[in-house]
Symmetry: C2
């Protein structure tokens, strides 16, 4: 079986998280740049994380001829009926950014009491193989939305996502891998990959 996998992401911090977890499997993970190709931008038109992750993994696999891992993830806030969900990256509009997304979220939850501020980070990872095989895994991390941005690490909604009294932007990479939605989802995916390789 192939030992070089493509990782379909342009988000360098996401890529580094993925690399950190998949390398111990003995899988050589490369981005499209490292392979000297350029993946098409995939429009994330799915209604669910699963649809988007699958779209990206299958497109990357088709274009590279290699097994391709892709991830789709986002924040689901209970008070907002699961929003921003698949629209997490675009919550403050097409020209938004992390700071604008977090500011919008904090404003919407301004007067909301602590017990109603529950939220989940969700990650779905897919690995698509050239023979059509698809492996999928889902991970969730439950927390609460804080009242302000805290911490300098992480990315996205990490500074407002609180678990055990700390924000995701305050904890180490190792702590985050063990707690986080993406860490859990990749742990399940790498277990499924291991079974394929035995």
């Amino acid at each position: 079986m192939e030992k070089t996998f493509l990782i379909a992401t342009h988000n360098m911090k996401k890529r580094n998280e993925l690399l950190r977890i998949l390398e111990p499997l003995g899988i050589d993970v490369k981005t499209d740049e490292e392979l000297g190709i350029t993946l098409s931008d995939v429009e994330e038109t799915g209604e669910t994380f699963y649809e988007n992750a699958l779209l990206k993994a299958q497109s990357g696999c088709r274009e590279s001829g290699l097994p391709c891992v892709a991830d789709d993830s986002g924040l689901m806030v209970d008070y907002l009926a699961g929003a921003p969900g698949v629209y997490s990256a675009r919550f403050a509009g097409e020209h938004g950014n992390d700071a604008k997304n977090n500011a919008k979220l904090l404003k919407l939850l301004k007067d909301v009491p602590e017990e109603e501020r529950t939220a989940r980070f969700v990650s779905v990872t897919c690995c698509a193989f050239p023979d059509g095989t698809v492996l999928t895994a889902r991970g969730e991390c439950v927390g609460k939305i804080g009242y302000e941005e805290i911490g300098e690490g992480g990315f996205g909604y990490d500074p407002v996502f609180m678990v055990n009294g700390k924000s995701f932007a305050e904890i180490s990479d190792e702590e985050k891998d063990s707690l986080s939605h993406r860490g859990k989802s990749l742990a399940v995916l790498s277990q499924k990959l291991r079974e394929l390789y035995v």
Copy 2:
């Protein structure tokens, strides 16, 4: 082919909308009560309207042995990244109601300018047949969220959903059938049913 169809809904206003549109097809539509049976409550666990409508239609068909029409619908507010969506009925919590849902929505959109108040009502209808055939249709109606509840008709989010300067709670049943998400979705579904019967 069967001429008696089951309608899977406990919402009487929804049932009346469905009846009004399907009766002209010569299809005798009955609720579970009228058939002397009691459908199990289907947990709407789907992530999409389509999944929920399909769950309800297939469950109703299985339990009655009749073709069964079901609908899932909700409001998708652009500023809220598509929320409340599949959670529309439960937006203000399990013990909420239309008034609480509308109050919550208006509060979340309090300072939001008119051009950012765009929203869509979405309806997906499914008809499941005992032989496993499934017909599906989707309808959308684009509008804006108003600044207060207006009108005495309709149900759900109708009093805050504005199209052409009027709320959905102000217009006649006939106007609503021609404009609404459910009207459009049922028009497509009844067209598909007609083709089956020719």
